[in-house]
């Protein structure tokens, strides 16, 4: 068995050496495709992180009706405190509201109108760890049903809109990724077809001497495995270095997933295996 495996492995390496030019071209293609793929992956990964940061910066304000009593305020405050998403609740009374108005518009509202019409409100900060947009919406809807609540300044819908747009961009990326995968499959498949054609006599000799289909295919699988691993690893190295450079040069903090190299290499092996099978099955059948 060991002798057989050694024979197949050496055949795989010989196949690699014999089709040097085609293999170098295939390696370059895998490298380019997986560099783009890795870049998309990093962009997608960071976009998702930024959405989360954006979400956690989200706060909302609850404005009460005029002449509200302390008991009604306490009821709303208790409801908010019971939610695991709520991190901080700050009461903004009529005086605080007047001060904010003064800061924003440079006018004292009491001198302007002769009374203070600004309502008492609660400023609610949301937790970074327990954030869930759907739950926030449920909480806001429930609060809106309270008689003491006049209005809730809620910007969740804007966030959702931004998220939808980002998701659309990510969907575009996904389509591009599929396109890149398709090109990779075609290129590997063509390289393996070329290898098969240059070795068609050898394959015939193996067939006539009783080789199983798997025995014939194995050296070509080894060839595509080596190409996939080298091509994608090279792509990972370059993409990592480029993003490190961008981070230090532009003072950014783009994060690279610790498992990115595993994803890229595994993915390229699967793509390589599929592409070689496609060519081999076509030839052997």
């Amino acid at each position: 068995m060991i002798d057989k495996l050694a024979f197949l492995f050496s055949e795989g390496l010989k196949t690699l050496m014999r089709n040097r030019l085609a293999n170098i071209l295939c390696l370059i293609t895998i490298f380019i495709n997986f560099s783009v793929l890795g870049t998309f992956f990093i962009i997608g990964f960071n976009t998702d992180s930024y959405i989360n940061i954006f979400r956690t910066k989200y706060t909302f304000e609850v404005f009460f009706v005029q002449d509200i009593d302390q008991k009604s305020i306490d009821i709303v405050t208790n409801t908010l405190e019971q939610s695991s998403m709520v991190q901080k609740i700050e009461l903004v009374d009529k005086d605080d509201a007047a001060e904010i108005f003064n800061e924003e518009f440079g006018e004292n509202i009491e001198s302007l109108l002769g009374y203070n019409p600004l309502p008492i409100s609660l400023r609610v900060d949301l937790s970074r760890t327990n954030f869930d947009l759907d739950q926030v919406e449920t909480l806001v809807n429930n609060l809106q049903k309270e008689i003491s609540v006049d209005e809730i300044n809620y910007r969740g819908s804007y966030i959702k809109d931004i998220e939808d747009r980002i998701n659309l961009v990510l969907f575009g990326f996904l389509l591009l990724v599929i396109g890149i995968l398709f090109i990779s499959i075609q290129m590997i498949s063509n390289t393996i077809s070329l290898s098969i054609n240059t070795r068609s006599k050898f394959i015939d000799i193996l067939k006539y001497n009783g080789a199983t289909p798997l025995f014939i295919k194995t050296p070509f699988y080894i060839e595509s495995f080596v190409l996939s691993v080298f091509g994608s690893f090279l792509a990972f190295m370059v993409v990592s270095l480029v993003f490190d450079f961008i981070n230090s040069y532009l003072m950014l903090s783009i994060r690279i997933d610790n498992n990115l190299w595993i994803w890229m290499i595994s993915f390229s092996i699967i793509v390589g295996f599929y592409a070689s099978s496609k060519s081999l099955n076509k030839f052997l059948n």
Partner: protein, 217 residues
């Protein structure tokens, strides 16, 4: 062991074999005789399932052309030793490695491979040429390497498709002598040839083909 039942195969309208009925027993040595284009090679290819009949059936070692799955064709070929007119040797491999190929496919250990290849080399009189490459050999020597590769796995049947076609008469007789020796050791042999002179003095069964049909058997 082998039977052709109303077997027809045609490449085009006027080329192929037609309604062949034939039985060949184990341990038999027989010649397929006929001019170029008479269907000898087609008959051989049908036997090792390189071709499948258009009509009728071929049966070999219990495997039927009608039932066998393409993935299982290797099982039939492992019991066959095929000798080609154009040798089909791997030019980049030594004589030893060419002969050892069927054993490597079978997954034999190095020690077994060494013993069996040495035996085949002795039988085909190739001693001293083990490390040479096919292109360094004469046509007769290359054909003997092809025979050694065919017999090294101890097949049930040797199919020799015009093994003397590219050789001078002396080399041709030498090849025939080796095939007779293999047959004497218990292996069935079917040899296709158009050279009647080469086989005329032999007392073996001759199956004569003409335009894809059996004329005599």
């Amino acid at each position: 062991m082998i039977s052709f039942n109303k077997t027809t195969f045609h490449y085009s309208k006027d080329s192929g074999i037609y309604e062949i009925d034939l039985k060949i027993n184990s341990n038999e040595f027989c010649f397929l005789l006929g001019p170029t284009g008479s269907g000898k090679s087609t008959l051989m290819k049908l036997l090792y399932f390189d071709l499948f009949p258009t009509n009728g059936e071929v049966e070999i070692f219990g495997h039927s052309s009608k039932k066998i799955n393409q993935k299982n064709v290797y099982k039939v070929r492992r019991d066959l030793g095929i000798i080609f007119q154009d040798y089909k040797l791997i030019k980049q491999r030594s004589v030893f490695d060419n002969i050892a190929l069927p054993l490597r496919i079978r997954g034999e250990s190095r020690a077994v491979i060494k013993d069996l290849v040495d035996e085949a080399i002795e039988l085909t009189e190739l001693k001293g040429l083990e490390n040479k490459f096919p292109l360094q050999l004469s046509g007769g020597e290359q054909q003997r390497v092809c025979i050694a590769r065919a017999i090294v796995k101890s097949p049930k049947l040797i199919l020799a498709d015009e093994p003397t076609g590219n050789l001078d008469p002396a080399s041709g007789y030498r090849i025939l002598k080796i095939l007779e020796q293999i047959h004497a050791e218990g292996t069935a042999v079917i040899m296709a040839t158009h050279n009647y002179k080469l086989i005329s003095e032999k007392d073996y069964r001759i199956i004569e083909l003409k335009k894809g049909r059996i004329v005599s058997s």
